[in-house]
Amino acid sequence: MSPAITHVTLAANEASEHRGLIITLFALFVVATLGITVWAGRQTKDAADFYAGGRQFSAFQNGLAVSGDYMSAASFLGIAGAIALYGYDGFLYSIGFLVAWLVALLLVAEPLRNSGRYTMGDVLAYRMRQRPVRTAAGTSTIVVSIFYLLAQMAGAGVLVSLLLGITSDAGKILIVALVGVLVIVYVSIGGMKGTTWVQMVKAVLLIGGTVLITFLVLLKFNFNISDLLGKAAENSGKGDAFLEPGLQYGADNLTKLDFISLGVALVLGTAGLPHILIRFYTVPSAQAARKSVNWAIGIIGGFYLMTLALGFGAAALISQEEIIASNPSGNTAAPLLALHIGGVDSAWGAILLATISAVAFATILAVVAGLTLASSSSFAHDIYANVIRRGKATEKEEMKAARWATVLIGVVSIALGALARDLNVAGLVALAFAVAASANLPTILYSLFWKRFTTQGALWSIYGGLIVAVGLVLFSPVVSGDPKAMFPDVDFAWFPLKNPGIISIPFGFLMGWLGTVLSKEEPDTKKYAELEVRSLTGTGAH
């Protein structure tokens, strides 16, 4: 056994001794959130409560919940890990994830709030033939959410192996199952109201934990950022290159292309993520939706600036060997940093590790809840009520379908969660962004702003973007033909890029245009007049 591995095992043992503390903190969060869920469940009486939390959240509350929904395991564990291993290149994730909010703010949030009701499909199908477009919107909502879910479940598995020293598959699957079951309870009982409160609590905990660790890291360097960066560069063994772009993506023209592809997917993905979009329905007006995005930009931006301190702090204080030995993709850098900053063999270190780990679990739970809610809402409202029952289902039946869909999606996510253990969590989420930007964003923008857009255009754009994005991922090094792939032992990867965005996003836009100009049907100009006036003025939206 190499010295590095011994060291990690020691760290894990140290953690195991304080296993009780970790479990207690986590149990506290679970009990509190279950309490909230039961309370929220009692107040969930009609469909508007279940899908949109009664539309009574304030802009600040929703901003906090949006942040809680968005700052996933990818942001917390994945970005910190990517920075800890690749230095500057990890920073790109946070920049893309943040700038992306401007697309949501300027083009999507307000019109969506004004013209939709419960799901993304409401807006996409507004002036189209309902059944085919809602089927497409429901399908892409569920696919995007499942990609995103995979990343969160991978994060959960990674955490448990670090904390409890469980490396067995059974242990990891158990924890993934626990996450799945809790989320089924949150969402099916608490609906949007319960989910929103869980996300708010989590956002406060995550920001609190991050501020604490950031403060301790900066304190160690007397608040001299230059010294922190210098130490990180030195300790990483890569020198100044660690502080410059290129360590992860600069190797050759192909990896550089991958970097552009990733960058485009990140910036265009956010405004097409269904679990984010449905959050805009929880506030009373478009103005409140705008204000909640502003709060979210402030909170998320502040958080991402702090992940720089986490990532470079981990690089400065922990050896690269130890970070990699603990998790090959760096996903455990943030909790390891908590342990080191408190002192590896001290109680303080164990307490910090326990706190940060409990926060990470809370993060995963809240995001999985948001994703599960988005998928089950879309299943119940778009597919069940409007496609299968052709709009004739009662509100009660629709809510019942939503609850059953929650159970089903929870079970599917548990099953898939076991598959994606050693992939970098941020990389997996980037795939969800690429799929969202390819399948959803073109259709949303065309629907809102292009008078001529037709049903055929919407279908070609959703399915075209979806199939190409998912297909390219399937044949990419993420799935096979790479030591870090989901299936490392086989190789059917003929698409060289890890992120499909640079091909699939333009393809989604192209198909929407092509489907429209080749369409035989006339666009429904009356419905477009209705959609446009509603989306810009809020007429009829209350």
Binding site: L105, L106, D122, V123, K256, V533, A541
Partner: protein
């Protein structure tokens, strides 16, 4: 079935008919609102995406420039990244100010009139 879009009204508001929407959409007042929104949001969107892509491309193809140290260990790449944060905050603030001053009053006027049935 197709009317499955707006959130249900909790208060009693009149819902305008289809002809009314077309009428409003073609009105000069609504045209002004649309112009005021699009002429602000669209160029700004193009602007921040170009600014972001510039950052991505410089990171890729101008390593020497990005690696130039400005003070201590802080290099151009680092400052560029932080500037992306600053510009995001700034644009969000700028758009919100524009929306509150120029868009909201126009939108509110149209909405009130349509729902009031005047």
């Amino acid at each position: 079935m197709a009317a499955d879009a707006p959130p249900p009204s909790t208060e009693q508001h009149r819902l305008p008919g289809a002809e009314e929407f077309t009428e409003v959409q073609e009105s000069a007042e609504f045209g002004e609102l649309r112009r005021s929104y699009r002429s602000f949001a669209f160029p700004l969107t193009v602007g921040f995406i170009v600014w972001y892509l510039l950052y991505v491309l410089l990171s890729n193809y101008a390593g020497g420039f990005m690696g130039t140290k400005l003070f201590g260990n802080i290099n151009v790449a680092f400052v560029f990244g932080v500037l992306q944060f600053a510009s995001t905050f700034l644009i969000a603030w700028w758009y919100s100010r524009h929306a509150a001053a120029k868009l909201d009053p126009k939108a509110e006027a149209i909405k009130t009139r349509m729902e009031g049935g005047a």
